[in-house]
């Protein structure tokens, strides 16, 4: 099943799925009718390897192979979708007929499939350095060194869990017009979690990163050591943390991962499906002021090597840099093909799906705020009483009411312009269409996150990136136990 390494020619890639151009043509014949506005077939082969360490031992090594095809026919706003993990000519035809059945049938024709360039769009990540080809020993060795380094950080680090996951995905997207687009996507991720124990006090610290790269990504510079020290440092720090205060407060968000604020507060609400249907708190607000003039937000799928980047989206549209908010004014939504067509705009390269088993939806790629002019230290100095948050767990949003929340995993009190005690258990909650209007300072220190984000929508998870410069938000509700 595995082609020789490095052979990524279109015919070889198609052959991996046991289909050829005539078979694809027959499936398209079955899929397309006069009334079918759009259609595609999405073949996918995923190989994932993971190794995990706990109690100082690499107890688990796992390898997974998953492949299948998803076939879609769209009429108006109706979608028929069929998928199968058994791929052959007969099953493909069956899936195509099932997908079309929803579109009021009629019409027939003959369709030819021409294999277009092996890749379309960008060339943002290496396929040669496919992480899966790294010897298992190298990965086991890295995990063992992680364990040693974490425990050496402080004797109160009692548990270390670490894992390395490497993933290589081959996508073949056959469009309505018979054009074939192929993308090979590597994805690697390293996670480190430390538990520090001091008497009855037990705290967790975690860190990690990755991207569309090979395993060697972790060995560059002192990258893996940095992740390990961060996880250990965070766990130890929290042993001395005080309960988070509760109430409305001025909050300074540090650069990088706190960009999750944008993802939750505005990103989801700007997805084209919700806005076409009128269920988003941002519906009908294009051209309106939704943020402070200091705020510009983009979603950019074209940054080389980033976790959220893609050469083409999962509908074969090349990704691009989409300006969502410019100078506080809402500029555009994120679109897949279906919602773009129904909204009368162009697709933006944001049609994504978790796997062949799922129909695409408008999704984010790498979402971040452009840098401003303030000095980060000055921003902190300007706060008399508030919270400085530098790392977060997860976040969630109700796109209709606009209310979002995200949970701090590393945060501090700011007292008289100085960072003081670390706090634990802080959760932030706000209103998406309103929160960015409360941004009163934007730093010049834009940073993207380390490559750990996974976004969930409608049961589908996709890798994403976020980024933020240091910003100050006034009057954010902080949830804690201390009143």
């Amino acid at each position: 099943m595995q082609p020789p390494n490095g052979d990524h020619s279109p015919s070889t890639t198609l052959a991996r799925f046991g289909v050829d151009e005539p078979a694809l043509g027959r499936a398209l014949d079955a899929l397309l009718g006069h009334q079918v506005d759009d259609a595609d077939m999405y073949f996918e082969h995923i190989e994932s390897d993971s190794v995990a360490l706990d109690e100082g031992l690499v107890k688990r090594a796992a390898r997974a192979v998953r492949q299948g095809v998803g076939v879609r026919a769209v009429t108006g706003d109706k979608t028929g979708y069929a998928h199968s993990d058994e791929i052959d000519g007969a099953r493909l035809l069956e899936a195509a007929r099932a997908a079309r059945a929803i579109a009021d049938a009629g019409g027939q024709g003959t369709h030819t499939v021409a294999v277009a360039p092996a890749r379309a769009g960008h060339d943002l990540y290496p396929v040669e350095a496919a992480a899966l080809d790294v010897p298992l020993d190298d990965r086991l060795d890295l995990l063992s060194r992680i364990d040693v380094l974490a425990r050496a950080y402080d004797p109160r680090v009692k548990q270390v869990q670490a894992s390395v996951a490497t993933d290589r995905r081959t996508c073949v997207i056959v469009g309505k017009d018979g054009r074939v687009v192929i993308d090979e996507r590597p994805l690697v991720r390293l996670n480190v979690m430390c538990i520090a124990v001091d008497g009855k006090n037990r705290q967790v610290g975690s860190a990690g990163g990755g991207g569309r790269a090979g395993f060697s990504f972790f060995l560059e510079g002192d990258r893996w050591q940095h992740f390990v020290r961060e996880a250990a440092r965070q766990a130890i720090l929290k042993l001395d943390a005080v309960d988070s205060p509760a109430g409305s407060m001025d909050v300074v968000l540090g650069p990088g991962w706190p960009g999750i604020l944008l993802h939750e507060a505005v990103g989801h609400g700007l997805e084209g499906d919700f806005n076409r249907k009128g269920t988003s708190a941002f519906t009908g607000m294009i051209g309106k002021e939704v943020a402070s003039p200091l705020v510009s937000v983009v979603d950019d799928g074209t940054i080389p090597g980033r976790r959220g980047s893609l050469n083409v989206d999962d509908e074969g549209t090349p990704t691009q840099r989409n300006v969502l908010i410019e100078g506080g004014v809402l500029k555009g939504y994120l679109q897949d093909r279906l919602n773009a067509r129904l909204s009368g705009v162009a697709p933006t390269g944001n049609g994504r799906r978790e796997s062949y088993a799922d129909a695409p939806m408008p999704r984010m790629t790498n979402t971040f705020m452009l840098p401003g002019e303030s000095d980060p230290e000055e921003i902190i100095k300007g706060v008399s009483r508030g919270i400085y948050a530098v790392s977060f767990g997860g976040g969630q949003v109700d796109i209709t009411s606009g209310k979002f929340t995200f949970s701090g995993s590393e945060a501090y009190l700011i007292e008289d312009g100085k960072i003081t005690a670390p706090v634990k258990g802080a959760t932030f909650i706000g209103n998406g269409p309103d929160v960015l209007k409360r941004v009163v300072a934007v730093g010049h220190d834009l940073k993207l996150d380390e490559g750990i984000g996974t976004c969930g929508k409608d049961g589908q998870s996709v890798p994403v990136g976020v980024g933020l410069p240091t910003i100050r938000v006034n009057g954010l509700t902080v949830g804690g136990v201390s009143v």
């Binding site: 688990r60 090594a61 706003d77 767990g393 909650i429 949830g479």
Partner: protein, 454 residues
């Protein structure tokens, strides 16, 4: 396409044989084959119909005390065999772990419960797409027809399917289980004075005949969306908090996480070493019963092939049992509670079945009537709960209670506390547990939590 793909038991037997030939000293595995369909409408029109067929093999191999796992949906002989050989080779280089291994043969030999759990409905296969779309339309129409303020919809969807699990070990055990399920949800959107609110309701059943009326689902979804309109942000305060049963069930899920052997042996739970201790008031009872007929999480054997048994988790407020599989049991010096769960990918780990908290004897209205000034939480969101530290801090939506009555809706607030304190502070249970949930608790009241708002 390989002929192996069409016979799960033959596929499993072949995989175990290949593993043995490659040098595995023991192995177990499972094949899950499933078919499912979903049919969705929005504003009365068909929006999406999706059909899927999936089949996957998951395999765990041992070479002495070392192990590795693999999973695949590619059943061509050559690639399958290469993958298994590669997995056995990987097992040779992982760490030796004296606690690793298959369950005792004597335990595996026990026959599963001699009761038909009725997890499979043969009639469900006859549900066709048009009939499903009609059910979805009825639910959505009932929701949108309930009030003129319900002006929009995220749609309504019916999904149904069945799956078969075949499980085998190199010791010669082979077990299979078929199950089916059908569910329906709808999410209407209400709008008033420029404020938008949505909420959803759902139904779920093993058998089509148990799904209930789609209108009832739509009407409840409408009620839930409407009651959110006019929401205010409450003042920050410490007050009594009532979790409506859905939220209480999520809260009960944190107990399931904290007593999971996988967390306990790593010292990663606030309930480490708390077996036999009081964790809740004496009227709190929690069981994990895999034998409930047509139960949402029922199963006759666990993911290591062991016949399951009902388990008392909390009795009289005292923690009586953890949830363990063979490995975590050995690590803790205890027997497995027959609670192994496993997906195709990865190793087995402990998990719960029908994890239910016993009903109290009051209605939700009576719990509310006993509160002068407090909060009824109808939904929570976010990720601010840690079963390692016990910290609890969540975004919340609800209704403010004044003088024993629901006064007005609230949102953009958080609730915070610590799990061990919250459990001990439960001071009332309602009688409204929803048996359609796998992890299910009745509405419950906590004496005091911090509510953060303006």
């Amino acid at each position: 396409m390989s002929e192996l793909a069409h016979d799960p038991e033959a596929l499993l037997a072949h995989a175990l044989e290949v593993a043995k030939r490659a040098g595995a000293t023991a192995a177990d595995g499972l094949v899950i084959s499933g078919r499912s369909t979903s049919a969705k409408v929005r504003l009365g029109e068909t929006e999406k119909v999706q059909q899927s067929r999936e089949k996957g093999l998951g395999l765990r191999v041992f070479v002495g005390d070392r192990s590795a796992t693999t999973s695949t949906s590619d059943f061509q002989r050559a690639s399958l065999e290469a993958l298994i050989e590669r997995t056995v080779a990987a097992a040779r280089v992982t760490a030796e772990d004296p606690f690793a291994g298959l369950p005792d043969e004597a335990l595996l030999a026990e026959p599963p419960v001699d009761v038909d759990l009725e997890l499979y409905d043969p009639d469900l296969a006859s549900l066709d797409v048009e009939a499903a779309l009609a059910l979805a339309r009825r639910a959505e129409a009932a929701a949108l027809g309930a009030d003129p303020r319900l002006v929009n919809s995220e749609g309504a969807e019916v999904s149904w399917g069945d799956s078969e699990v075949a499980f085998a070990t190199s010791q010669g055990i082979m077990r299979t289980r078929r199950s089916s399920s059908v569910s329906l949800w709808t999410t209407p959107m209400a709008e008033e004075n420029g404020e938008k609110q949505r909420d959803h309701w759902w139904a779920h059943a093993r058998h089509l005949g148990d799904l209930g009326s789609p209108e009832a689902v739509g009407e409840e979804a409408a009620r839930r969306a409407l009651r959110r309109l006019g929401a205010r942000k409450p003042k920050t305060a410490k007050v009594p908090v009532i979790f409506e049963s859905g939220v209480a069930s999520r809260f009960l899920g944190t107990l399931a996480g904290a007593i999971n052997g996988g967390a306990l042996y790593k010292d990663a739970s606030y309930l480490c070493g708390k077996l036999g201790e009081r964790v809740a008031p004496d009227f709190v009872e929690v069981t994990d019963d895999p034998h409930i007929v047509r139960g949402p999480a029922s199963r006759d054997f666990d993911s290591e092939g062991i016949a399951t048994r009902p388990l008392v988790i909390v009795r009289g407020g005292v923690l009586e049992s953890y949830v363990l599989d063979t490995y975590t049991g050995k690590k803790l010096g205890m027997a497995t509670t027959r609670g192994a769960r496993r997906s195709l990918t990865g190793t087995p780990g402990p998990g719960t079945s029908n994890f239910w908290m016993k009903n109290g004897d009051k209605s939700l209205e009576e719990l509310i009537a006993e509160v002068d000034n407090g909060l009824l939480v109808t939904d929570t969101f976010g990720f601010g709960v840690s079963t390692v530290t016990g910290d609890y801090s969540q975004g919340a939506v609800g209704l403010w209670i004044e003088n024993g009555k629901l006064a007005y809706p609230v949102n953009e607030l958080t609730i915070a506390g610590s799990l061990p304190d919250m459990w001990l502070a439960i001071d009332g249970l309602a009688n409204d547990r929803d048996p359609r949930r796998g992890t299910s608790a009745p509405s419950l009241r906590i004496r005091q939590m911090t509510v953060a708002g303006s």
